[in-house]
């Protein structure tokens, strides 16, 4: 196991990640400086690290230029890694802008260092091709977020919610680790490669044997642990308390960074089954988790008066939609057939819209306190039309109104679900039922998003919230709006990138799909072409 990790790896391959770690260390030092003027520069250090990271991520040689992905030291730099890395860096810059003035003076260093460390973890989840590395990467994502929740708002509520988040996170990490150990036992190695997939699928294919039980337990328990990261039922309990306890920028970040890490990690675990997601325990688990997440999340969000709690619960619902895409799995060579591409697209556009909403909430002040309830943002259009329209745009995208990003995301998610239903055999009707549940839930979701939109745009109120004078945060919110608009009108940039990113997972699924339904020759051709073009088509 350790031998696999001790292979040499070129440092340039992880240069962006190293830059972020170095930037975090420098930020921590600068934040401790005696001079206030220097301490105020801390976010600039983080920004420089992120931009440098972005530059080197683009300058470095593309992954697998020869089409062959090599696993080195438990890291496989494929298109998925590239997708995760780039979207993390871009969104990281937006998060940084949104959180620019968030921490208090004496905690800037820690705060921005933690942010960078967390982003580094996310960037490592993408290439992780080893159970150990994957687990470590997820923990590198998570542990800084516990700290950030606590130091983002120095009051009892944030300490309480941070503590809760930490303990429950530890519990879920324990579940994940436990599940991973089973998988290690079944696969015989910690490397997530074709051999591991073969052994796990073989074990799953022989019911009644010990390997079958071990493999199933391993898959189910590790995915259950990872559900915590994406805040899906039944591990969603922390979400509202933590979001409410954290400051708005940190809450916005929690809607993207851990969710993205969780989604990618779940996909990597599901890959071990050869994407056989439509029967057996895995199917029922994904089905139930998806259906319950959507329903519970939306139903709870309906009752909230606090927008932060509402967005927290709606995040649970969105996790449910993503689970639907994961269940659909990599499928056809087309827009509406590939669940993994849809999930990768959705998690990013959801993250952007969610972050935009939280950024605006953090920006708006009501009598000195950040806005929180629907009442606080009522009548915003009259005084601050720009902010009001940004808020409406974020809400529309979250709601999934055509032609916003949310709509493209949901369309591809639901479409992939329906495509998968065609191959789901006896469970086909259940898959269709899940898509119907998802559609009904989108409608329920519209109710609470529209409530905010109506309050912001239509209602009038004498005293409206005032934006705090925070240019960076304003810029971050604008960038969210801008990115949402870009992906509204050019969804295929990101969707196509997600499609390329899921290339390897498509290959992993081929074995299973071929046994169910032989792939038509033109699809195989297209897959070959995709191989050839993998390096030629940049994800952004």
């Amino acid at each position: 196991m350790l031998a696999a990790l001790s292979q040499p790896i070129s440092l340039t391959a992880v240069l962006p990640e190293l830059l972020l770690v170095a930037g975090g260390c420098v930020a921590m030092l600068v934040g401790l400086s005696n001079r206030a003027s220097l301490r105020e520069r801390t976010p600039w250090v983080a920004l420089a690290a992120l931009i440098l990271g972005l530059v080197f991520a683009r300058l470095g040689t593309g992954p697998g230029a020869d089409g062959i992905i090599q696993i080195q030291s438990g890291l496989a730099f494929d298109n998925l890694a590239d997708y995760v890395r780039l979207s993390t860096l871009v969104l990281g810059i937006v998060i940084l802008l949104v959180a620019w003035l968030d921490p208090s003076d004496d905690e800037r260093g820690e705060f921005f260092a933690m942010l960078l460390f967390s982003l580094t973890g996310l960037m490592l989840v993408g290439p992780a091709a080893n159970l150990l590395i994957l687990f470590l990467a997820i923990e590198v994502v998570s542990i800084p977020t516990y700290v950030m929740v606590i130091i983002s708002r120095r009051d009892r509520r944030s300490i309480e919610s941070g503590t809760k988040y930490f303990y429950l996170g530890a519990l879920s990490a324990a579940m994940t680790a436990y599940g991973f150990s089973f998988l290690y036992g079944v696969a015989g190695s910690a490397t997530l490669d074709a051999a591991a997939i073969e052994r796990v699928t073989e074990a799953l294919g022989s019911p009644g044997t010990l390997p079958h039980a071990l493999a199933t337990i391993g898959i189910l328990v590790s995915i259950t642990g990872l559900l915590f990261k994406i805040a899906a039922v039944p591990l969603h309990w922390y979400v509202a308390d933590v979001y409410q306890g954290a400051s708005s920028p940190v809450a916005g970040m929690l809607g993207f960074v851990p969710k993205f890490a969780g989604v990618v990690a779940i996909m990597k675990i599901v890959s071990l089954t050869g994407w056989n997601t439509v029967d057996g325990g895995l199917f029922w688990m994904l089905w139930l988790a998806a259906a319950l997440s959507m329903t519970v999340g939306n139903v709870l969000a309906l009752r909230q008066n606090s927008i932060k709690r509402m967005l927290a619960f709606s995040g649970v619902a969105h996790a449910g939609y993503m689970l639907l895409g994961i269940m659909a799995g990599p499928g056809h060579d087309s827009l509406v057939g590939d669940g993994t591409a849809a999930v990768l697209f959705y998690v990013v556009v959801y993250g952007i819209a969610n972050l935009g909403a939280f950024a605006l909430l953090g920006l708006l002040q009501v009598r000195g306190a950040p806005a929180e309830t629907v009442d606080d943002v009522t009548g915003l259009l009259r005084r601050y039309p720009g902010l009001a329209l940004l808020m409406a745009l974020s809400m529309l995208a979250l709601m999934g109104l055509p032609p916003t990003t949310g709509f493209w995301g949901k369309m591809s998610l639901f479409g992939s679900g329906l495509t998968r239903a065609a191959q789901a055999g006896e469970n086909a009707n259940w898959v269709i039922a899940l898509v119907v549940i998802a559609a009904v839930n989108s409608a329920i979701g519209a109710a609470y998003y529209l409530r905010v939109i109506a309050a912001v745009l239509l209602a009038e109120k004498d005293e409206t919230a005032e934006p705090a004078p925070r240019e960076a945060q304003y810029m971050g919110a604008m960038m969210c709006g801008f990115l949402t608009l870009v992906f509204t009108f050019y969804p295929t940039i990101l969707l196509g990138a997600g499609f390329n990113a899921s290339l390897n997972m498509r290959d992993q699924a081929v074995g299973f799909m071929a046994s169910e339904r032989p792939a038509p020759p033109e699809l195989a051709d297209a897959a070959d072409e995709a191989h050839a073009e993998q390096a030629a088509v940049p994800p952004f």
Partner: protein
Amino acid sequence: MLAATELPWVTLFATIPFWPLLGAVIVAILIANRQSPERAHAPVIGGAAISAVLSIVMFFTIWGQAPAADGTHAAADGPVPAALVSEGDHAGEHGDAHGDGHAVVKKDFSKIGTTYTLYNWISLGDAQSLKGAEGGQWLAFNFFFDGLTGMMMLFVTVVSTMVVIYASGYMRDHHMHPEPGYERFFAFLGMFVFSMAMLVMAGNFVLLYLGWELVGLCSYLLIGFYYGKPSAADAAKKAFIVNRIGDFGFALGIFALYMFISPLAQPGENPLDYATVFKYADHLATHEYAGMSQATLVSLLLMCGAIGKSAQFPLYVWLPDAMEGPTPVSALIHAATMVTAGIYMIARCGPIFAASETALMTVAVLGVIGALLTAMMAMAQYDMKRILAYSTISQLAYMFVGLGVGAPDSAVFHVFTHAWFKALLFLCAGSVMHSMGNIIDLRHFSGLRTVMPQTRTLMLIGCLALAGVFPFSGFWSKDEIVHAAVYQSPVLGGLLMLVAGMTAYYTFRMYFLCFHGPTRTPPEAGEHPHEAPPVMLRPLYVLAAGAVLTGFMGVTFSFSLSESVFGIFNPHGFFHDYLGNSTMVPGPHHAGGIWVAYASLALAIGGIGLAYVRYGHAPQEDPDQAALGPLFSLMHHKFYVDEIYDAVFVRPLRRLGDLCFGVDRGGIDGLVWLVAAVPRGLGGLFRLGHRGALQGYALSMVLGLAVIMMIWQLAG
């Protein structure tokens, strides 16, 4: 035939629609910042003017670049009389060619026009487009440039600019203070010009539909501009709803096209692009769907849209009511541009329509019914704007007949000339209305020739053009349609000639009632009614010049008594060569039989003479009312069509609506309440679990894991 695949400066021309939009956005920003409305017209006038200049340049660029049209036409760079004369020798054959629409469909439509893609908008889900690779299929945001585009854009933008300038004077009170909503009006107008340009320049059916609906929206907003007035609000709703009926068919037509074309389209061909659709038009003609040829099905469905938008029988009822909007709106949207969108669309889809005899015949028959019916209604109205509205419907019906008898180029020619003189007439009527204190009923004033001499002259030019008197523009274009109709079917041609006479009669009835006889003004006009201000008159002169001169665009000179008017003016000239290279299937020359032109001219002059005898002194008592009695009353009440629609459609539907509402109230609301109550109740229940206790959360998580393991056990 040479392929017109590259157009110089195409990128520049692709910006044409966006200038007025920019103007509208600037006005919207002014509104948002609560600026004074005083200068609100400037950005929109500027935007429209830039578009107009660019459109003029585009018109000539397309002309200069157009290769020779199809075989029946001479070279494009200048008329060659000899060729036309030789065409005339085969006049008899042309008559035959009419009977068989297929004979003309021999153009290679895939090589016509330039498609300029701004960006690929929506992927159609194939692998290539997803990867952003070459050869993908898209719903692109693209524009299409050919002769038809150039011709339409020329008058759309120029007439719009004139109307916007006029409106900056019209939308003010007697002290030249802007009316309330002045800035809103100009924002909508800018938006309209943008939408219309999008409609005309669209390079695929979805973008066409987008422009189509956008102009509908602008029309709705502008008809209901005086939304405080119930009649205006009702008229706006009526226009929108009646158009919806047609648009339903239109949308189905586009769906059908997609269904038929997408299996044929090769990689890299966007299935709904004009270029692709017309390339496969032959396939539509030879394949069947639901018992008729695919071309017929698609044509009839698309025609529904045209019937609604271009106010054709039986969906014309919204247009007269649309006159509730401010007069510049009536002139621009409901006479000159938007209502011609249906004609444009059918002309654009020439390859599809030409492949279906049934569709062409339906178009022609509906057209002739509408032309007759509304001409009769126009003869018994007193509201100047309504008379003009009915005449618009009647003229649009003329164009429909032109399309139906296989002469779409003549129909587009009429669209072109009609835009100038009808805008002129409406704006003159508006100027009268402005001066008369918003009174437009012909029974309340007369003899205005002394009060408004300039308006009177301009109006006379417009009336002569509408009546079709030589050498005004209406004469040339109307004659071509009559010509084509006569060769298609003598009955059709005869009816059209009758309508031509009626048109001259009611037009001049209006003119004499307004400007002749003793000077009378209504009390609302104040003590000293006055001529319109220069800002309103100047654009009228431009339009008047158009009304006089544009007819000659369709004329070449040749010295042949048998096929030229007065032995000099030969119809079917430049205009047809210009359009010959567009997607439409041009009709053949109708040279020879020039007697048709003389006959319709005689009818027009006869109509004017009759009007002079009966109304030349602007009698207080309407002589027609006395003479025709109940028939007049029937015509005055528009044959009670609105009432019939009300009884047959509106009231039963309303009753059905009441019934549904009752069911909804009683039954479904209860269910919905229940549906809403269940999540709320559940929410309350779930919230019990969210009390914030850490141990409780942890326990729930572990229980959740346990449940998942149990499911696995159960699922096996």
